[in-house]
């Protein structure tokens, strides 16, 4: 597959590979998504907006230039707006692939980084020399203002032009809590929402603070996805129950939705309302309790996004999907083409859930 290098959320010629519940593969224009869904289905998207999480500055003790990428928060409940987990990069910017970026100076507890408009102190070095917990100085009011004006959206080396914040917000974006865009949501514009409604397909959201998707460091990348806080509105949980009664399908727009819903239903299959933190990895060994199908970008094997698909279908189907994506020249990454995969694994276990 080729990387999508132009930051257009909904290219007119975007493609959609569909895997149905029998494992059959078909190709469609992505704008026809709504026509592939049925009366009674429930589409659930992540409405997190993207925080401008890339901050440039200087590591004061060594005067070395650094880029700090905010990567995670412990809770969405409002406390500790000034504490973030972050990954620190050395000199340079997104034009260099993350894996080729110089390392930052050695980081220690108590070190201060003076970022544009923000002062960040390292309160803890996490389980990797470049992965730290930061406390930002100032009141929430001051921190919000500085982040809003000085932060830049995390940028990818495969997109040559600088990303603006509006490139990274989905059309339904609400609370700015994600560190990278929940990019599967780029498929949804308001016209699609209208088409869904006209077909009797219902629409709901969760808010999931999608963390950083790649660090350029194999050791760190193995830790991904990080723990991610989420919130499930009561109306969304009620619509899922209702969808079950009407034997519709729950269709997740993006991996973050799968992660949040399955985490919230881990106990007994019923989606718990309110705040939580998704800590689990989803893969071949996972039995899905809530989600029947997923719309996702296309991803390469060995990424956590790809691994998650193994919970939906067996590896033989995924191998055929990979071949089809190559053969039909699908574009990969955030601004690329999409897939709609219906779950064919463990279906019997879920009937009547």
């Amino acid at each position: 597959m080729i990387a999508a290098s132009i930051p257009i959320q909904r290219p007119a010629d975007a493609k959609l590979l569909v895997v149905d519940a029998q494992g059959e593969i078909t190709h469609h224009p992505r704008r026809d998504l709504a026509a592939l869904l049925n009366d009674g289905d429930l589409v659930i998207a992540n409405d997190a907006a993207t925080v401008p999480a890339s901050l440039f500055g200087v590591h004061l003790a060594t005067a070395a230039p650094v880029e700090v990428r905010l990567a995670g928060r412990r809770s969405l409940e409002g406390e500790e707006m000034n504490v973030f987990d972050a990954i620190v990069f050395g000199a340079g910017d997104y034009r260099t692939r993350t894996e080729h970026r110089p390392v930052p100076p050695p980081l220690h507890v108590g070190d201060v980084m003076q970022l544009v408009g923000l002062r960040a102190e390292i309160v803890c070095v996490l389980d990797h020399p470049r992965f730290v917990r930061l406390r930002l100085a100032g009141s929430p009011h001051e921190i919000w203002e500085a982040l809003a004006h000085s932060g830049r959206p995390i940028q990818y080396a495969h997109v040559p032009s600088p990303l603006a914040i509006w490139d990274s917000w989905t059309p339904i974006a609400g609370p700015p809590v994600a560190f990278e865009p929940p990019s599967a949501g780029f498929v949804l514009d308001w016209n699609t929402l209208q088409s869904l409604r006209e077909r009797g397909v219902r629409f709901a959201t969760i808010t999931h603070a999608a963390g950083i998707s790649s660090t350029g460091d194999p050791q760190l990348d193995r830790r991904l996805p990080l723990d991610e806080p989420y919130r499930i509105p009561a109306t969304t949980a009620a619509m899922i129950r209702d969808c079950r009664v009407r034997t519709g399908r729950v269709i997740a727009i993006g991996t973050t939705v799968v992660r949040a819903l399955e985490h919230a239903a881990a106990e007994d299959g019923f989606v718990r309302v309110g705040f939580g933190t998704a800590t689990q990895e989803i893969g071949a060994a996972t039995t899905l309790k809530v989600v029947d199908a997923i719309v996702s970008g296309t991803h390469e094997p060995c990424t956590s996004h790809y691994e998650l698909l193994r919970a939906f279908v067996d590896d033989e189907i995924l191998r055929r999907v990979d071949l089809e994506l190559e053969r039909e020249n699908y574009k990969t990454h955030e601004f690329g083409d999409s897939i709609l995969v219906a779950r064919s694994k463990d279906v019997a276990k879920n009937l009547g859930a």
Binding site: D47, G78, W144, E145, W166, G174, P176, P233
Partner: protein, 254 residues
């Protein structure tokens, strides 16, 4: 009890029912109608964020009303749209009511259209039409979430009788407000299925800094006090939120 007193207690009631206050964002919140709205909503128990260009004025209002959240920003400038939207959302945790109140008169003193500089018309359109369009669009996902959670989801665009009537020398202002009025009507139709209402509200001729710029020698005693218009709008917003959320209306609640 005056009607607005009843409605004011209703905003507290909304807070009790939801376990969370009504979340209101107001642009142009440091003078005239905007300032009066910030006062009224805040006194009524709503959680208010407001936007204005002048940092000193923003800090003065925040000092006076410590429960409000002031944001320094200019809605007429495209590149500030998302910085403003993010600060509103971080401060309020979402938004139920957006009031696009910030307005530009165009040329000062008022001028015949033939004497109006293109730049003055552009400025009026940027503040009165494009600004509300962009900020509403950036907050639309949050407003839709408010609607899905039955929290009201209302956009109020401040209009004027100059949007309806052809007053000589009010060309830039009148044309931009007429466009905003029509934008409100179309958006209201388009968003109704999503549960978001868009309202165009004419507050009347008020004794405000904007009016003084337009008509410096007007007799203030013949003008409406902005506090009166603000109370009317708070009453209307409260009543519409109650309708949308099926909270009993104030008079029924008594």
């Amino acid at each position: 009890m005056a009607t607005h007193e009843v409605l004011r207690s209703t905003i507290h009631h909304i807070h009790d029912v939801w376990g969370q206050p009504l979340r209101v964002a107001v642009t142009g919140g440091t003078s005239g109608l905007g300032l009066a709205l910030v006062h009224e909503f805040s006194k009524s128990g709503a959680h208010v964020a407001f936007v204005a260009r002048n940092r000193d004025a923003v800090e003065r209002v925040m000092h006076e009303l410590p429960r409000t959240h002031g944001i320094v920003g200019d809605v007429s400038r495209k590149e500030q749209t998302y910085a403003i939207a993010m600060q509103v959302l971080w401060a309020l945790g979402g938004v139920d009511v957006l009031i696009n109140n910030a307005s530009s008169l165009g040329p000062v003193p008022l001028a015949l259209l033939a004497d109006t500089q293109c730049e003055d018309l552009e400025q009026a359109l940027a503040t009165n039409l494009l600004g509300p369009f962009r900020l509403t669009k950036a907050l639309l996902g949050s407003l839709a979430a408010s609607a899905r959670e039955s929290r009201g989801a209302l956009v109020v665009n401040i209009s004027s009788d100059a949007a309806m009537n052809a007053y000589p020398t009010w060309g830039a202002y009148g044309a931009s407000k007429a466009a905003l009025h029509h934008l409100s009507r179309i958006w209201h139709e388009e968003l109704a299925p999503s549960g978001i209402r868009v309202l165009s509200f004419d507050p009347g001729d008020m004794d405000t800094p904007l009016h003084a710029l337009a008509i410096p020698n007007a007799d203030p005693s013949e003008l409406k006090r902005p506090e009166t218009s603000a109370q009317e709008l708070v009453d209307l917003v409260t009543s519409m939120v109650c309708d949308a959320t099926r909270i009993p209306k104030p008079l029924e609640a008594m």
